[in-house]
């Protein structure tokens, strides 16, 4: 039942806080314009229930402005965005994926609006584009997750390298860098750490291949495979909270950090609503919702994290340079397919 009430309470909390802050808000100017635009189109890779929750929070805070959520994998978002532009379709206002390389590319192609969301100046450097085009909305780390009914805590792999043990053959599941930005970042981080040979060996264990970074932990929770070899910790965390038999391992050899940027497009058909929405997603309250019920990390310095999750500074983080991610995007997908087959 506690789960049931969390969402309405969160809505209420945000409403109260916004209500109090409204008179002093600098947003009044474009609030009217945003209302006139009536909606904001959001291409997002944030996992579906979480994305819908953020959208509903916004709609409750700003009645009259609808959020059109289009949720799919990071790479699919980039694909559709580029295909739309090729056909001269200008549909999307706010783009949010987990592949920071996409934003390097979009910035180079002059497809992003220069916009600094309210309050992001307090965010750490890793969450900010130095040219001011995109900002990290949320972060997650790639982890190992295992099914506690099948694997005991003693047996569970503690490092990425332990996954190469042949005893895991046929028991692993991986998500796909050709779909998910979280996974593309993960692959690059581990390639930089251990080389492509790591993935070549991992493929020998014949992992089941799914697409979304949220799916490996779901597959593990269902018992279809015992161990997830990657995926954002927040998906596993949510499943664990719901009572699924799943446990998270933060590998000792380092966890690939994924900062997922958001940006407004240069051609946004609803620019004022887009700004309003972007500001909204960076408010402390929304960032806190993401940390609380979704189990995400954020760049907001005042956000408090659940006690049962490690703090980011307690983890050994493996970081990836967005520009390198952009440059090696094709290599990552190609070699992954070469090793894993599809």
């Amino acid at each position: 039942m506690a789960q049931r009430w969390r969402f309405p309470m969160a809505v209420l909390g945000v409403l109260v806080l916004l209500g109090g802050a409204a008179p002093a808000s600098a947003q009044d100017g474009h609030l009217e314009a945003a209302k006139k635009e009536g909606k904001v189109v959001w291409y997002t890779s944030l996992v579906l229930p979480s994305a819908e929750k953020v959208a509903k929070l916004f709609e409750a805070a700003y009645p009259g402005i609808k959020v059109e959520v289009h949720r799919t994998g990071s790479q699919r978002i980039l694909q559709k965005l580029m295909q739309e532009l090729q056909a001269n379709i200008k549909n999307v206002d706010v783009v949010h994926t987990s592949d920071a390389g996409h934003f390097v590319l979009l910035k180079e192609k002059k497809l992003l609006m220069h916009y600094t969301p309210a309050g992001v100046d307090k965010f750490p450097a890793g969450f900010k584009d130095r040219d001011g085009y995109y900002y990290g909305l949320r972060a997650t780390v790639n982890v190992i997750a295992y099914n506690t009914k099948i694997v005991s805590a003693v047996e569970a792999p503690r490092t990425w390298k332990e996954l190469l043990d042949p005893k895991w053959r046929g028991k692993l599941v991986t998500a796909h860098p050709g779909y998910s930005g979280v996974i593309a970042t993960h692959v690059l981080a581990l390639v930089n750490h251990y080389g492509w040979d790591y993935f070549k060996q991992l493929a020998q264990n014949r992992a089941m291949i799914v697409q979304s970074a949220a799916d490996p932990s779901a597959v593990v929770a269902s018992g279809e495979r015992s161990v997830a070899v990657n995926g954002g910790d927040y998906s596993a965390y949510q499943l664990k909270k719901k009572g699924s038999p799943i446990e998270i391992v933060y590998p000792k050899d380092g966890v690939p950090l994924v900062v997922s940027p958001t940006a407004i497009t240069a051609f946004a058909p609803h620019p004022n609503a887009a700004k309003l929405f972007t500001d909204f997603t960076f408010t402390k309250d929304v960032q806190q919702v993401m940390a609380d019920s979704e189990g995400l990390y954020t760049g907001h310095p005042e956000v408090k994290y659940p006690a049962d999750k490690p703090k980011l500074d307690e983890l050994k983080l493996l970081q990836v340079d967005p520009e390198e991610l952009e440059k090696r995007n094709e290599e990552i997908k190609k070699r992954f397919v070469e090793f894993f087959g599809a």
């Binding site: 579906l48 959520v69 087959g341």
Partner: protein
């Protein structure tokens, strides 16, 4: 000459444009590069070991699906058309249900049934036998073949059952009188007579398997292998390699065209069969002791195609965690509320699907009726060409058509990509052969004498069409409409390439959810899609007064 000529000419032109443009573009893009014409794309495509594997996988899958469909469809056709098998109405109804079930939904359901570890059947097997290994692993080539075959065999079944219904049983009876046993009669008399139908059913099944996208995407990709269709789809991932997709489409196109040519030859000489209209009597062969085992066999197969998948979809729709038992704790309606009220993509996808379904079915049925009328009444010179063109899209697999449409309509003068129109064009083209065949059969049944009488009394052709022919052909045309509508609402293989976030349809939303692993909402939308389909089927049967698969009065 008649003033109705422009109408026919327009219909003909539409067909040429719908097909010629996309195919022309595929051909052109596959051989063009920045530095002029080239065969480099073909060279790349056929030398890449990954792509060779995808080609080979497709051949293997399609061949075995063909064989399996015959192995399943032929005996069932014989049992229902020729013997005193009990429960025939039920069995025909279930085969029809399997015919209209979207194969990708079946594949998705079978993930939950026969995933090697969490699959419900495997869990049951482990509990009963105490074994550690899985009974079946659906994420394998045989698993894929099995799932495709249980939704493809109805094509073979319809083909053979309809042939059997036309063959009088005199020859079989003669053999029986001469002392041959039932099996021997079946093997030496009946079988040779329906051999062409079997072969051509085989080819039809192979064609279906070749063109399929959803099932391989759901079952083959997790196992780490591609088929041609999934490979073409992945060529569109960023950075897109459209020229490779075009080059890789050509073998699929040629294979389809070739197979259809063979099938046409086969049907052209139904030779041995003594098909003498409906004059000959058909007597049911008594199965004796075999009645109930035979019924059991049929039902077991149909359980795999219908009962088990539908059951597991319903279970997933109602549970928090699909792999857990359906206890009170696990029971929920949250999937329904999420899918229909919280997930913003659903409502627009449902609207888009309905809009496209109604539009395509209306325009498609109209066009098909017009064409069938023209060709049946031989109204213009070259009407045979029209018939050919109407049936021609059958050689274009959905994915290939989509590649062509994508190339043709993402550039001026016709920027259709990003609108529902491009999906509409794809659906009309794809459904035209089915619609045309259905309409053609309708007009074959409407005798021209009545029309002639009307013409003699001074009515123009359009007036005759409106007041005499149309009322007579009405139920046939409505059936055509339903056929197209069912085909459209389940379409995935072309939609998956042509959609944009603003123009999603239900099948695409289901596929999106599949990629994210959201089982509950998929099950809800899947059931919703099935409900729409069966609603339409019921409507069609009301109108026709019979089931749509066969000639049963």
């Amino acid at each position: 000459m008649d003033r109705s000529i422009p109408v026919w000419v327009a219909a003909a032109l539409a067909l040429v444009v719908l097909m010629a443009l996309p195919l022309g573009w595929i051909g052109w893009v596959s051989v063009s590069s920045e530095s002029g014409p080239t065969l480099a794309h073909y060279a790349t495509v056929f030398q890449d070991p990954q792509l060779q594997k995808a080609l080979w996988n497709t051949v293997v899958m399609a061949f075995w699906v063909g064989l399996a469909s015959v192995a399943l469809g032929a005996p069932m056709a014989w049992l229902t058309a020729r013997t005193d098998l009990p429960g025939q109405t039920l069995i025909r109804g279930l085969i029809m249900a399997s015919f209209v079930t979207p194969p990708f939904l079946g594949a998705f359901a079978w993930v939950m049934l026969a995933g090697p570890n969490a699959g419900l059947l495997n869990k049951l097997y482990r509990n009963l036998s105490g074994a550690d290994d899985a009974l079946v692993n659906i994420f394998t080539m045989p698993g894929l073949i099995f799932v495709v075959a249980i939704y493809t065999f109805p094509y073979v079944y319809i083909m053979i059952a309809n042939t059997l219904a036309l063959i009088a049983s005199d020859l079989e009876e003669a053999a029986a009188i001469l002392g041959a046993g039932r099996l021997r009669v079946a093997a030496t008399v009946t079988l040779p007579m329906v051999a062409p139908a079997i072969l051509s059913g085989f080819i039809l099944a192979v064609l279906q398997a070749l063109a399929l996208f959803g099932s391989p995407a759901i079952l083959a990709l997790p196992a780490g292998f591609h088929t041609i269709t999934t490979q073409i789809w992945s060529f569109f991932h960023y950075p897109p390699k459209v020229e490779m997709a075009a080059a890789f489409s050509i073998p699929l196109l040629l294979a389809t065209a070739l197979l259809l040519q063979v099938q046409k030859r086969l049907l052209g000489r139904r030779g041995y069969a003594s098909i003498g209209g409906k004059g000959g009597r058909r007597r049911a062969i008594p199965l004796g002791l075999w009645r109930y085992p035979a019924l059991g066999g049929c039902l077991a197969l149909l359980a795999c195609a219908i009962f088990l998948p539908y059951g597991v979809l319903a279970k997933a729709a109602l549970s928090r965690a699909w792999a857990q038992p359906l206890t009170w704790d696990n029971l929920t309606l949250a999937n329904f509320t999420f899918t229909f009220f919280e997930y913003s993509a659903t409502q627009s996808a449902v609207l888009n699907t309905l809009e496209l379904g109604v539009m395509t079915a209306t325009v498609g049925a109209g066009l098909a009726a017009l064409l069938a009328y023209v060709t049946n009444r031989r109204l213009i010179i070259g009407h045979q060409v029209l018939a050919f063109l109407a049936l021609a899209p059958i050689v274009i697999p959905g994915v290939v058509l989509a590649v062509g449409l994508f190339i043709a309509y993402t550039r001026p003068p016709l920027l259709l990509y990003g609108t529902l129109w491009i999906l509409f064009v794809a659906y009309v083209t794809k459904e035209m052969p089915v619609g045309y065949s259905q309409a053609d059969a309708t007009f074959k049944g409407v005798h021209p004498e009545l029309e002639d009488a009307g013409r003699i009394l001074g009515a123009g052709r359009l007036r005759v069409l409106g007041e005499i022919t149309a009322p007579l052909a009405r139920s046939g045309i409505i059936a055509t409409w339903c056929f197209i509508f069912i085909g459209v609402i389940r379409e995935l293989s072309a939609s998956i390439i042509l959609f944009t976030p603003a123009t999603k349809v239900i099948s695409v939303v289901i596929f999106d959810l599949k990629e994210e692993g959201q089982f509950g909402p998929i099950a809800v939308l899947g059931l919703f899609m099935l409900a729409m389909t069966f609603g339409t089927v019921v409507l069609m049967q009301r109108v026709l007064g019979r089931d749509f698969m066969g000639a049963k009065e």
